[in-house]
């Protein structure tokens, strides 16, 4: 089951209501927003309507909003050798496996 990964590259400001309706149908509300839709003639037709505004990629699995946010998260630039003990649990991304070299 393949999916379209659709990203809005150009805004629809000043474009006809019909074009904006297509973007709303795709779920694209703001620029550089990414949505996933299954490959089908319906979504292909919608992409053809807004092909000048959009960047499309074919992927195997859709990503959730959390996964998309993780993609954008930059390298923290540090790691904790020894995390302080805390109630909530270990700091995400702080612990490194033993013997790994961070360049």
């Amino acid at each position: 089951m393949s999916w379209f990964r659709i990203t809005l590259q150009r805004s629809a400001i000043g474009l006809p209501q019909r074009t904006r309706g297509v973007l709303m149908a795709l779920g694209l509300r703001r620029r550089t927003q990414t949505v996933f839709h299954p490959v089908s003639p319906q979504f292909a037709g919608m992409i053809m309507k807004v092909k000048e505004l959009v960047k499309v990629e074919e992927v195997d699995q859709p990503l959730t909003a959390a996964q998309l946010r993780e993609e954008r998260r930059p390298d923290p630039g540090f790691y904790l050798e020894k995390a302080a003990r805390r109630e909530g649990g270990p700091l995400a991304g702080a612990t490194e496996p033993e013997g790994s070299v961070r360049l």
Binding site: S2, P41, A44, G45, M48, K49, K51, E52, V56, E58
Partner: protein, 110 residues
């Protein structure tokens, strides 16, 4: 009356808004990039649907009628047909929303 096409008269104290009659080489470069981007979107959609054995009428029409960026003449990439101009052509940047609209075909012979 807002934006780049505001009618103002310098004689009456208004500002002068000028745009060149032709595209610069950087604008032409970006126009080629945009045409290629649209071609790649169409190719991606076509490939994805072909794997499922499906197709869409708008896609088939685009492939039948529209030239790719490689097939286009520079004249068609950077100018459009204009019925009231001398030589019946004017620069494509005079077309509203020209960076977000597909304009590839012109009447044959013009």
């Amino acid at each position: 009356m807002f934006g780049a096409f505001r009618i103002t008269s310098p004689l009456n104290g208004g500002l002068l808004w000028k745009t060149p009659w032709r595209l610069s080489k950087f604008q032409k470069y970006r126009q080629r990039q945009r045409l290629r981007a649209v071609d790649s979107v169409v190719a991606t959609v076509d490939r994805a649907l072909a794997k499922k054995g499906d197709t869409v009428e708008s896609l088939e029409r685009w492939k039948a009628e529209m030239p790719t960026e490689q097939e286009m003449l520079p004249k068609d990439k950077y100018t459009i047909f204009a019925r009231y101009e001398k030589r019946y052509r004017k620069s494509i940047h005079k077309l509203p929303k020209w960076t977000r609209v597909s304009q590839r075909l012109n009447p044959p012979g013009y």
